[in-house]
Point group: C2
Chain length 215, copies 2
């Protein structure tokens, strides 16, 4: 310890683990869960394969650890981006920018959460479902608050709010994948597209204006 140099230098376990998880998220995102190998992940992390097994136990446990870390980072980024004292539309705009900025800066993490974690069955899909429920609850609270904020109209029924939150989260997931796969679409553009789509629509709903069928 201390004066050692080069490959034999000892690092704290937390640093080693982070290196392994960084290598794993990149590998799982690009090769997929099945094709990813513990050998390849160890090599990319610059550690020995036995050390990966010692710390993370198995490919399944490593994949679960990656999903948990990336899900937590995404939810934290969205929460940190939102200032609860602002009006609801400003909160939504900040939340969308934080979401699309995070998914653009962590494309491998988003690919693991949105694609890989859902395409390899349980228990991985359940980890992502839990994260999604947390985001839906957050958006539901935001839309509910916006409805209460709006002057002169009754509250939106709870079921409408729940449906709108599901629509908004589904739209954001879909756009994040599209933005990452489409050359030259910035996080801010993706956020602005969804904000225009969502708020101009939500804004009318808040004022009690609905689209009229059969006009």
């Amino acid at each position: 310890m201390g004066a050692g140099a080069g490959k034999t230098r000892r690092m704290p376990r937390a640093v080693r683990e982070r290196q392994m998880l960084d290598a794993a998220v990149r590998t799982f995102a690009r090769l997929g869960y099945r094709a990813a190998s513990m050998d390849g992940i160890a090599e990319l992390a610059g550690v020995s394969k036995p050390l990966v097994y010692l710390y993370l136990h198995s490919k399944e446990d490593l994949f679960t650890a990656v999903i948990r870390r990336e899900a937590r980072a995404l939810v934290d980024a969205v929460r940190a981006g939102v200032e609860p004292s602002l009006p609801a539309d400003a909160q939504l705009w900040a939340g969308l920018r934080a979401f699309f900025t995070h998914t653009a800066e962590h494309p491998d993490g988003w690919a693991v959460l949105h694609h890989q974690a859902r395409t390899h069955g349980e228990p991985f899909a359940a980890e992502v479902a839990a994260m999604r429920e947390e985001i839906v609850a957050f958006v539901t609270a935001l839309i509910g608050a916006a409805a209460r904020e709006a002057h002169g109209t009754p509250d939106l029924p709870a079921r409408d709010v729940a449906g709108l939150a599901q629509a908004l989260v589904g739209a954001a997931e879909s756009l994040a994948g599209w933005a990452n796969e489409t050359e030259g679409v910035s996080a801010k553009e993706a956020a602005a597209t969804l904000m225009n789509f969502a708020w101009a629509g939500l804004g009318n709903l808040m004022r009690g204006e609905r689209w009229a069928a059969g006009r």
Copy 2:
């Protein structure tokens, strides 16, 4: 043939195959791909297991056949619901009603497409991705036509239209799962929630009105 009765009556291959696929979609949706067995599917279909293998070859081929049939049925239902001579908002409303009616009437088919087919890797995920691209292309054309229809404003840039189509399709996917899992949400309610969300927002965009940041 003809006068035969009971179990030994011969049926056309197409009828037998439909029975097998009906049993398979139900089994895959409820048990998942891995837990589903060819024995169980044959029993539910009222045919022998060798006949299932003779017609559909393997569990993998059967799953692929189920995905293709359910994807085709969903796309056809949406296309059939839309009358191209109507104004764009009426077309969208008809398309959404057709989509949510079909997913509500075929919850097992939707569960296979949205959940099972994406949670068991390739080649199944690619089948669903192809269906999704067809629906996105359809919605993109619809939004583009609406933008051209709108008077007095320039066309929306193609990239905005593409982003809006991605947002709308993602919102519909998310709401369909929610509607099927939530007691008492009808297809028409789900379609109305999304129509209000989408069109009041899209309608403003068509008139060149955008949500203004920093109000």
